[in-house]
Every structure is written in C-alpha cells, then in structure tokens.
Symmetry: C2
Subunit: 224 residues, 2 copies
Amino acid sequence: MYSSQYWYLQNHSLFKHLNSSDLNEICYIAAYKTVRKGDIIFFSEENIGRVFTLKKGSLKIVRIDEQGNEIVKDILKVGDLFGSLDLIESNEDEYAIVLSDTATFCSFKAADFEKFIENKPDVAVKYTKWIGFWFKRLENRYSNIMFKDVKTRLMSFLKDIAKDHETDTDGYVSLPNYLTHQDIASLICSTRQTVTSLLNTLKAEGVLTYSRKEIKLKTAALES
Amino acid sequence: MYSSQYWYLQNHSLFKHLNSSDLNEICYIAAYKTVRKGDIIFFSEENIGRVFTLKKGSLKIVRIDEQGNEIVKDILKVGDLFGSLDLIESNEDEYAIVLSDTATFCSFKAADFEKFIENKPDVAVKYTKWIGFWFKRLENRYSNIMFKDVKTRLMSFLKDIAKDHETDTDGYVSLPNYLTHQDIASLICSTRQTVTSLLNTLKAEGVLTYSRKEIKLKTAALES
DNA sequence: ATGCTTTTGTCGGCTAAAAGACCAATTCAG
DNA sequence: CTGAATTGGTCTTTTAGCCGACAAAAGCAT
C-alpha cells in the first residue's frame, strides 16, 4: 500500500502536511499517468472536472478561440496544478501539450476532491490560498500585457523562466527552450515576427544569446 | 441577537444555506459599515486581510500603478465579494471608491473566516467555487482586452452592465452611469478620447443614447 | 543525400488607437 | 450667481506593432 505514488503527493506543498492515512485516502481517488513529448491531454471527456498536478516535465496549456486560433495560455512546470482548478467543470476548448521528453502527472476528480476536503478543512483553506496565488499570477500577467510594451513583456517573460534556473559560471542563465517564437509570441500576446526581431535586438544589445534549444540570458539583465 | 445583520448575510448566496447558529458565529466575526459617495475604503492598515461583501450600492476598485496612474480595475455591485479574496494578505496599492450615494458592506477577517470554514467544510467548497468563478471572470475580461478591438470591448462592457438591468418599455435598457469616460477607458483599457468618440459613433449608429447620468442601450443591440 | 516541413530572419506598408492640444459644456463650491 | 474645476467633444499628429510576403536556415523523414 505504500506505493511509489505516495512520495510524490507528499512532495507537493498542498499535501505536504497530510499523514499517511490521509494520503491513503487521496491516493484512492488519484490516478497517475506518464506521457511522451507531443502528447495531448484533453480536459474533455473522461478528464472533465479533473485537477491535474505535474510531477515531472513541462507542458503548455493551449486554448482554441472562436476563430480557431491556437492561443498558448500558459507554460507549466513541476508542481503546478492545472485543469479544473476552480472545481467548476468546463474548459471544453482547452488542452495541454507535453513539451518535455516525458511528463508524469497525477489527477483526481474535482468532485472526489471536494468530498475529501470536507473532512480535511485545513486542506480546503490551503487549496483556496493556492487558487488565490494563481489568481494573482494571472492578474499580474494580464496587467503586464495591458500596460507594458512588447519588449518589456518579452523580458519579463524570460526573467520569469530564469527564476527557476541556476546561473551559469559565465554570468549567463541558460534556459532550455522548447518554445518556438510563435509560442512565445502567443504567450506574451504579440506576433511571431515581432518576437524574432526583438530577440535579435536584445542579442545585439548583449542582453542574451540564443539558439534553437536554449536561451542564455545575461544575469546582469535580471535586475530591475 | 437576531440583529439586522442577519438577513444580509443570509441573502448572500455564499451563506444562504447556513442555519442561524452558523450565522451567529459568522456575525460574530463580521463587521458592518455604511459609507457615502466618494468615500474611500483602503485595504491597508486595519483592513488588511479582510474580505468585504457589498450589501447595497456600488463601488469601483482602483489601483495605483508604479507611475502613479489610477487604473480602474473593477466595478462592483450588490453581492460581490472584494478585498483579500484569496485569503492572502496584500493589495497595498488598491482601494475602493463608493460610486452610489451610499454603500453598505460587511467584512470579516480572512483569518477568522479560515477558522470558521474549518468547521464548515461545505462553505469552504462553496467559497472555492466562488473564487473560481471570479477567476474565470477575470480570465474572460482579459482575453477580451487582448483579442478584441476597442469598439467591441466597449460594447461588451456595456452589455455586461445591461445584464443586470430591466429593459425599458421603449426598447432601451437604461443604465445608470456613475462613470466618467475616463473611468470607462480605464476599465476597457483604452483612452478617454477614444471612448468619447466611440460613444458618439455608437450614438450615430443608433445603438445607444447617453447623457451624463445614464446610458440607454438599444435592447436589439444586446444580441450577438 | 534529397526533398518536404517547420522555424527563423527581414523588410515595408498599413492601421488602430494612443497622445497632445484646445475648446465647450457641465457641475460644483462659496 | 459666479468663477473654478471637472468632464466631454473634436481635431491632428505620431507610433507601436500587426500583417503579408518572401527568403534562408534547420529539422526530419525516407
């Protein structure tokens, strides 16, 4: 019964403080899966109303708007929650694409989770705070988009990724880059061409270097 | 003990299903206040970490950005929650201004509420869903701002307000208008001048009429 | 290798809407 | 009632950055 699933859940800050009988219970309602690069996780059908949490790898959340445009909504990394976070069933037009070579995630039905937190009110509060945190994050991202120009947005996007990476010896932070310029454009709400030329001006300014698989950002540029 | 505070809380969908002993408890942690037009509610100092809910009137949430610009973030009406919704203490740079002649609101400390929902897990779930709803709302508003042009944004802003108002006999929905063009501009993320001239083109197109105190929107324009 | 597809690079034209400037109309305070 | 302050109206100028077009480079499959 002490399955390997345990340690992961326990590692997640949302569940960190639960004892093993709690874990037992949540494991009962949880399901695990490992998928490969390019695989798609739909939030419809059997996944409706599920909350996912990413154990390994990274993925991007994509939404199709009315005109059929692919909009990259978010890039997620280990520990992030996604899916029906709000415990509301919906998100018909959203799905996730795996960016890393493999990705492992866990999921449980929001409805089950609801039942679970009814007995564990402290988890409920934690969960609410977690959602609140995401709320803030979203708010920030959007206010950025509205009030900053594209160049600033691109920079804060890069800085944001850089936060999770060690700075190299040579004064650069190396960011693995699974994203095309098109993806980046979509994330910072701009166009492919603009991103390309901005990356080149930034290169010219000595702020960064980049190839297809990585972006090296000058650590000095992380200030301000 | 059956104070007048009761009926208000009971009227709020979040607390509707609570019995009177629950209400007793939440009233214990709640505080009430009535304020006048133009009054400001700061979220700092003694209000830090408070959740507010509006009983009567309307108000606007304003934020001051780094450059000192006033940004109108939201317009709230009866029943809306505001303040430290996420149960996280913050929002230093935000405050609310009363728009209607008077406004009455209730507030409780997030920390107290936390304790309260620990005994009332069903409220916790409801609350989480409520937050989720706001999350969606925010998401929608911003995706509007990003992908629609100003005119469309203005129209959906008006339609959004119109939802809460009865259509008049003459085929118009009358919207009381406490907002200056500057405010509207700020809400839909545009400029005063653009809003003014757009309102006038819309008037020319016969979609609406407006004066300083009301905007009359043609009901036919509510479709699509 | 060889071709096919996807991604990147660059350029100029184009447009929505911001920004500035000024005046008219309202509102408000004393 | 009167003058100041706020709000609304309409110009004109300016600009960020979108868009289309096309070429070069890199990735990928056979």
